[in-house]
């Protein structure tokens, strides 16, 4: 890397030698991400981080003037791993705009499809992508000392998962060769079959429509799903304790590991799984039906639940620029000046955004990415909060636990934890799991939450099958409500993509799309420094992260940085760049004077 790409801001660190290192592309994620850092090897710390994305496609631009009924088909193509989350969110936004309420059976079918998506996606990501960062090959390469300790450490839950030591778990995670790696890949297929039963195809579904679904409910449909679900439930009874053992071991083997990827608790969740008994897709009652969702929406700041209202969440959305390759839209058209309840809608809200791309050279002192900076305006403090999603599960479990609203028997939110009951399966009895609010928002807890949310989704799916069967047995098998596309309308959809918050904002004029802006989780997590200079969550979480890797600059893998970034489950369905430089030394700094010189550079 040349100095042309250097970040210009100072470090303020008492650095012995600060080395510029970058990883481009970051692999084992979806999409295109580059992480550019300055690392102080003397104090073993990351002093600065910039994240960049290298692909632009322009959905908001080419969707203008299209038939709004096409938008879920089109927006599914935003993402190749959770496209169905987009299609679903778009259907939610369209339902609101058209004033249509699908029959309950359609909602249970969508919930079953989306639950299968969480089960699949977290499964493949956790153990085929993230898991490799914890596998024998990797740990031996980055921390031989930890590997030695893993061989001596018995796994506390060996009886549940069958691996005697932590080292055995690590070996089972080796790519392709590892037994658990291959088993997980196979489970990711079983769950995708469940998905295809409900939504037709993975990853861009064929059977979703505004007003309902095309899937034909039958005993066969739900039996085919249920039988597979029970296999996954049995699998989860091994997987959750396995991950608890693995992650707890890292805290024990590397004291201080809780600081890796730690940032302030600033979490957002937009809620998932509609309750058809309550949800009517009317904006004016959105707070009520939002709170009835089977994953509770909410915003958590420093451990406190600020709101669970989708109205508050919606009104507070702000899309900032600062370091992104776009022209500002402050002077462009205002599409929505107030919401249907009379709340003022800001010019920086997605309903009013106009996307004007401006390709240019990458400059880490100026514009360096195609990602914008979504923020949530906290009216209590006037802050534009750089919320993250904790990779999805951490925020979902945290808001749901604190809100204490979900209680469906198999899942129960207690106010400080979430209890999950997995029913008896072929070889294992009923098991109760409890996810407790952790002390930190860090890499390990993001990963741990993922495994618990796999169980959460499975337990919800079990409940949804029961509800769907009840509809079927009562003969209520309609899956579609007809509608008309109005000439003028607005709509918004809130959902949880696998890796976190997802919103779609739609404006219809003359029966066509006048404006459409989807906000998936990764723009929140991968956002760059905004106009106020606030770094995005990846940047923030990587900055100041201590490094536990045993390698020096020459053979440095950046494993602790990788674990931090991957804990967010990055999904920049664009191009990702991560590149490990040759460890070029920027400055040898020995005195405060020299340090000041570095800061000005």
């Amino acid at each position: 890397m040349s100095t042309a790409t250097l970040p210009v801001t100072g470090t303020g660190s008492h650095a012995e030698n600060v080395v510029e290192m970058s990883w481009d592309p970051i692999t084992r994620i979806v999409g295109s991400l580059g992480i550019y850092t300055k690392i102080d090897f003397a104090s073993k710390k990351v002093v600065e981080c910039h994240s960049t994305s290298s692909i632009f496609r322009g959905y908001s631009i080419f969707m203008k003037n299209k038939d709004p009924r096409d938008t879920h088909f089109i927006t599914s193509r935003i993402c190749g791993i959770c496209g169905d989350n987009h299609a679903t969110c778009s259907v939610y936004a369209q339902n609101m705009a058209y004033g249509v309420n699908p029959p309950p059976m359609a909602e249970w079918i969508i919930n079953l499809g989306e639950a299968a998506e969480y089960m699949f996606d977290h499964c493949i990501f956790q153990d085929n992508l993230v898991g490799v960062d914890f596998c024998e090959m990797m740990v031996r390469e980055t921390n031989p000392g930890v590997w030695e300790k893993a061989k001596q450490t018995e796994a506390p839950h060996a009886g549940d998962h069958g691996y005697r030591t932590i080292a055995e778990i690590m070996t089972a995670l080796n790519p392709f060769e590892g037994e658990f790696y291959r088993e997980t890949l196979q489970m990711s297929r079983l769950t995708r079959e469940m998905f295809c039963l409900m939504e037709g195809r993975h990853v861009h579904p064929s059977t979703l429509y505004p007003g309902g679904v095309g899937t034909v409910p039958s005993s066969q449909l739900f039996t085919d799903y249920l039988v597979r679900l029970m296999k996954y439930i049995e699998f989860m009874k091994r997987v959750v304790p396995l991950h608890d053992d693995l992650f707890d071991f890292f805290y024990e083997a590397l004291p201080g590991y809780e600081q890796v990827g730690q940032r302030r608790v600033l979490l957002g969740c937009w809620g998932s799984f509609q309750d058809p008994d309550i949800c009517d897709y009317n904006y004016k009652t959105m707070e009520k039906w939002g709170k009835a969702m089977f994953v509770t929406p909410g915003i958590v700041v420093d451990g406190n639940l600020v709101t669970t209202s989708l109205i508050d969440i919606n009104v507070g959305l702000r899309i900032l620029l600062g370091s992104s390759y776009y022209e500002d839209w402050e002077q462009s058209e205002t599409f929505v000046s107030q919401d249907p309840l009379g709340n003022p809608i800001d010019q920086r809200h997605p309903w009013n955004q106009t996307t004007i791309p401006k390709p240019q050279k990458r400059d880490f002192g100026g514009k360096y990415t195609w990602v914008m900076s979504p923020r949530w305006f906290d009216k209590r403090t006037g802050d534009h909060l750089a919320l993250d999603t904790g990779g999805g599960p951490l925020a979902r479990l945290w808001t749901t636990a604190l809100a204490g609203l979900v209680n469906i028997g198999y899942v129960q939110a207690t106010g400080n934890s979430v209890k999950i009951v997995l029913p008896k399966s072929a070889m294992k009895p009923e098991v109760e799991l409890e996810w407790k609010i952790p002390k930190w928002s860090n890499a390990i807890e993001r990963d741990r939450a993922r495994t618990y949310f796999q169980a959460y989704a499975a337990a919800c799916a079990y409940y949804f099958v029961e509800r769907a069967m009840k509809e079927l047995h009562a003969g209520r098998t309609d899956t579609f409500t007809p509608f008309r596309v109005p000439d003028e309308a607005i709509g918004c959809g809130f959902h949880e993509a696998v890796r976190g918050v997802l919103s779609h904002h739609l404006v219809i004029r003359g029966g066509k799309v006048a404006n459409y802006h989807p906000y998936p989780p990764t723009p929140w997590n991968a956002s760059p420094r905004d106009v106020f200079g606030t770094p995005g969550p990846y940047e923030d979480a990587v900055q100041d992260t201590p490094l536990f890797e045993e390698n020096g600059p020459e053979k440095f893998k950046g494993i602790d940085i990788m674990r931090t970034v991957r804990s967010f489950d990055p999904c920049l369905p664009c191009g990702v760049h991560m590149y490990l430089g040759n460890g070029k030394v920027l400055e040898q700094v020995h005195t405060p004077t020299a340090l000041a010189g570095l800061a000005k550079k």
Binding site: R77, R189, E193, V203, V216, P359, P573
Partner: protein, 354 residues
């Protein structure tokens, strides 16, 4: 035939001992084709990587979604391939090719950083470097094959398919045309099966891959969606769904199946499960070169479907009423199955009590 017969593979060792799959996901895409490929079981990615398929050389897969390596460690294969030191390799492209010539600076799609300038290396430059060195070039999904969603009217990037970029007459150094496996995303087994064929071909164990004029494997794309659809029978009898969620033929509510080249209705999505019109999803023609613009608005009936479905309604109505008579008869058991004390089956017993 998709795979070389085992007997041939056993008798003849491959021409090469090792082969690399260099898989670029940095077109304008969504990585959905890589993800889809991990769903394949016939064969699965691990079947190919771990040598479960007879006759194959050792296969090394370099795909960013699955790679162990990160950053430079990962990019080194790209540089080796560009220098001709990773021979032979099959280049897979995922995502459409943007037009980088339409603006004065910056990039639409890129991968890796140029060490001299500090700027990203565009996807197009990688294609220019790698395509001449590749044994075969495969486009995974409709974006890479024909442009797809990101090449929709009104798009800001000037996106196109690879054959538009390299030329439809382009051939690899081994004389193979570009191989297109369309689908949005690609059907999992269609992708792995095509790759397997090409691995055999590059290893000298299979003849030239048969392709149609849109460069698609003929055995996968030689039939229409409608020809494989289990709802096609409704069409024959002129019975159509008028709302989504009904189990009949979907052509009157937006299905393009009768004119779309795709095997999803025959093959399902995964191990025979799922699909499109066969499970209630209108065919939006996602495998076609004209996708998406020529088929939008997706939820309107295709213009040609009015005439053909009305004819089918009349003719099919007659067929249906005639069939109803036969159907009724077929649903009745023969008259000799009864509990009366006589045998009326036609058998004449000699030794029954009388």
């Amino acid at each position: 035939m998709a795979v070389a017969p085992v007997a041939i593979a056993a008798h003849r060792p491959p021409d090469v001992k090792e082969i690399h799959l260099v898989w670029m996901t940095t077109g304008l895409g969504c990585d959905g084709d890589s993800v889809s490929t991990t769903a394949a079981t016939l064969p699965s990615i691990e079947d190919v990587v771990m040598g479960a398929i007879p006759g194959l050389p050792k296969v090394h897969v370099h795909n960013p979604v699955l790679a162990y390596e990160v950053g430079d460690d990962f990019m080194k294969y790209w540089y080796l391939a560009a220098e001709g030191k990773l021979d032979p390799f099959v280049l897979v492209l995922e995502g459409s090719v943007p037009n980088e010539k339409i603006k004065k600076e910056g990039y639409w799609a890129a991968m890796g950083t140029d060490s001299r300038t500090g700027q990203p290396i565009t996807t197009n430059e990688w294609i220019d470097r790698l395509a001449p060195k590749a044994a075969a070039v495969v486009c995974a999904g409709t974006c890479a094959t024909y442009g797809g969603i990101h090449a929709m009217e009104g798009n800001p990037t000037g996106a196109m398919g690879l054959a538009d970029y390299l030329g439809w007459k382009w051939h690899s150094k081994l004389g193979l045309p570009i191989v297109n496996v369309p689908g949005c995303p690609v059907q999992p087994d269609n992708m792995m099966e095509t790759l397997l064929y090409l691995l055999y071909q590059v290893a000298g164990l299979a003849p030239m891959i048969p392709l149609d004029d849109q460069l698609r494997p003929t055995w996968l794309f030689g039939k229409t969606v409608h020809e494989g659809c289990d709802r096609g029978g409704y069409y024959e009898e002129g019975v159509f769904a008028h709302e989504y969620g009904q189990p009949e033929c979907l052509v009157k509510i937006g299905c393009w199946g009768p004119v779309v080249d795709c095997n999803v209705t025959k093959r399902g999505w995964m191990d025979g499960i799922g699909g499109c019109p066969n499970v209630g999803g209108i065919c939006i023609a996602c495998t076609m070169p004209g996708f998406p613009d020529k088929f939008m608005p997706f939820m309107d009936p295709p213009p040609g479907s009015m005439v053909s479905s009305n004819i089918s309604r009349i003719v099919g109505g007659i067929i249906r009423s005639l069939r109803a008579i036969t159907h009724h008869a077929a649903n009745k058991e023969p008259s000799w199955r009864h509990s009366r004390p006589q045998l009326t089956t036609g058998y004449r017993p000699k030794h029954y009590a009388d």
